[in-house]
Symmetry: C2
Subunit: 432 residues, 2 copies
């Protein structure tokens, strides 16, 4: 495929994508396929000779789409949202074309520098303490990780390296193995201090935990993977109070800030804590500026060596929405979850199971867990909406998460009418 | 931005991308910017109100492009290639639109199932032993990781879990800490058994290492990050002989197989070795099929929870090139590296420093390391081509890697003339 064919096929794909997004409401949110459906539909080996683009795009509709769970359908209320926006898709196209691997400053200076500045922009949007920003001469700074899991692992390894060095400096006789044996990582029942847990979006009390960590010289890592995006709104920012006690903080703009996956934002107060733990300097990656203190080599901040030009997505999204547009987006989702909450509250057969703070409503049918499980089964069989359950202590609970960029009040109302209807059928069947 | 504006801007972006790729030869391969160039060029905070798309795309040319190292320029011979092709970019557009997070089968069945089948396709292209394939009822199978580092870490953790369980089964009194203290990971000087090292693309002897690992019950992980793509050509496949002794094998189609970053292909012989080490099953990720034995939940195969629909890129590329097209691409690069090798050999001032097997030529000026370092400095200052050095034992060596999809004999010839000319100037200056 040469550039001129790409011009043609690329534009067809743009239309396919736009058609898909515009028509997504008409597709069944959860697919009908059974495990193993796909293998018999395609050849057992790659073709020797090229297939045509038409063949492939036809197969997308015939083979792929019937097996897709449509995360961006306005009837998708499962898990947590995964971000999707047109500006982000445009940036991804550019990112793919530039196709640099930004493991060092020299590998593509723009890739590294835009990332540092975008992480400052985002940090300011969250009103993070100055210590987390890179600025012109700060000791802190931000980095884009692939996922919150990677950010947690990076924080854990950095913390381990830091404490090992501290102990070895104090007692030079100590072996690394002896130190390892004694190290303890404290965590909540969701691991690390969490703002906005997956099950029910609850919040750890940083103002209690933080001072203890400072006093005991314990590395504090805060994970606000989902909730973090909301902190760009002043009314939700108090949920982040106490972040000033943390060594590292992380949340996922790829969940709720309209930046397509993957983009997990992580900040540290002392970037030398990361670079000290991960430094990797073979000759083929050395460059003339690296010891100047002026530059950032992001390979020292993460586990993989390679990295894409992901900050382009942040730049496009922040600029094309503006802070006000992003705040309005968050607020709309929170408002929709409160709307659903009040619908549930008006029906005496149901109960709300956790405080609704952001975009998640946990609810159930009053009575046995069996009853709510049976309701979920009916919901999943009908496939008009999609949601997943969780356990809150001993209760089996349904999670209704506001997910889609295009979800409106009408979808929430329809979803609730659907759930209510299924509940009525269920309760009637139970009585019979 | 609504769908209709996306149709317009998306098509403009397709043209921008095509223009960039068509004109890349005219751009200076390595940028002129100094560290910190970007920050003063953009505002210190995100805008409150939206910027226009025109503003942004103008800034791409004004602010971003001057700081880009053009990895896809035919004058880029640094590091190793990173893959780029139009079919892959088209697939990435679709991947962004579907935007599913395929952590479980249920999260998007097509995402999981296409990945399993594509990894089988690719495994067959490499003539991997049957034991590594999933097929309909195999115990092995493949997974797409983000990078070779992640694949290595996953293999290491799986190996550790496996041996710990074996030892604990044999001696139930052993604590995990006592076992950890005794575990040893053997590695070459490039870590793990490597086919195609970064410095000089050398190959470990699997036929020697393999049987020892089998005899001693040691987990053997093989990393062929760069070289792996070449094994789709029968004439290079012997380099992979011995893979039958391995427990896990990994290479990066995102380097040399025209699948844009990230796409690191990993296979294991027993997928229960991975799922046993990483299994994570909160209620909100459970689904009705998961205990049926019929499905794959890829979250148990990797470190992060989230994952994109990356197998679309493989599907588009394999189909639109065909196996023959991919083989021709590999062969062309290998031929170009041999062409460069013979140019170097014809100049008595230079020497070849390692056997040229695939697309990398290691060479230097005869004489002191200082001389070759001075030559590299001239090359880097001229910025007509871009390459990086390495150390081979005590020698400072230049790496000439065939990288770009569009590199032709004429570019290689020009690059060599340029290097020769700089060498002549240098040697003349040295004499004066």
């Amino acid at each position: 495929m040469d550039a001129s064919e790409f011009r043609r096929r690329g534009k067809e794909m743009v239309d396919y994508v736009a058609d898909y997004m515009e028509g997504i409401e008409g597709r069944q949110v959860y697919p009908d396929v059974e495990p193993g459906y796909l293998r018999p539909l395609i050849p057992t080996t790659a073709p020797q000779e090229p297939d045509t683009f038409e063949d492939i795009i036809n197969d997308v509709e015939k083979i792929i789409m019937p097996g897709v769970t449509h995360w961006h359908s306005p009837y998708f209320f499962a898990y947590f949202p995964t971000a999707s926006s047109y500006p982000s898709m445009l940036a991804d196209m550019l990112c793919g074309a530039i196709g640099c691997i930004g493991f060092s400053w020299a590998a593509s200076p723009a890739c590294t520098e835009l990332e540092t500045v975008m992480m400052d922009w985002l940090g300011k949007m969250l009103q993070l303490p100055e210590a987390f920003l890179a600025g012109n001469a700060g000791e802190g700074g931000g980095v884009i990780q692939g996922s919150a899991s990677e950010a947690t692992l990076v924080a854990l390894l950095a913390a381990r390296t830091k404490v090992t060095r501290r102990l070895q400096a104090a007692s030079p006789g100590l072996t690394q193995a002896a130190i390892m044996e004694k190290l303890v990582a404290y965590s909540s029942d969701q691991v690390v201090a969490t703002l906005g847990t997956t099950s029910c979006c609850s919040f750890d009390n940083l103002l209690e935990v933080g001072p203890i960590c400072i006093k005991e010289d314990v590395w504090l890592h805060i994970d606000a993977a989902y909730a973090g995006s909301a902190f760009i709104c002043p009314e939700f920012r108090p949920l982040l109070n106490g972040v000033e006690f943390a060594d590292s903080f992380n949340f996922n703009p790829h969940k709720w800030l309209l930046v397509n996956f993957d983009c997990s934002a992580m900040w540290v107060k002392k970037r030398t804590d990361l670079t000290g733990a991960f430094k990797l300097d073979p000759v083929y990656l050395k460059h003339s500026h690296q010891d100047s203190g002026l530059i950032t080599d992001y390979r020292h901040w993460q586990l993989p060596l390679g990295r894409r030009f992901r900050s382009l997505k942040m730049w496009f999204v922040f600029r094309m929405y503006g802070i006000k547009g992003l705040q309005a987006y968050i607020r709309k989702h929170v408002q929709l979850s409160h709307e659903f909450e009040s619908l549930v509250q008006q029906d005496p057969r149901f109960e709300i199971c956790a405080e609704v703070t952001l975009g998640l409503v946990c609810f159930r049918l009053k009575g046995s867990n069996k009853l709510t499980k049976a309701l979920l089964e009916r919901i999943n069989n009908a496939k008009k909406i999609h949601l997943v359950p969780c356990h809150l202590r001993d209760k089996f609970v349904l999670r209704f998460a506001i997910c889609s960029r295009t979800v409106e009040s009408a979808h929430v109302q329809l979803a609730w009418e659907h759930i209510r209807g299924l509940a009525t059928e269920l309760l009637k069947a139970e009585k019979e």
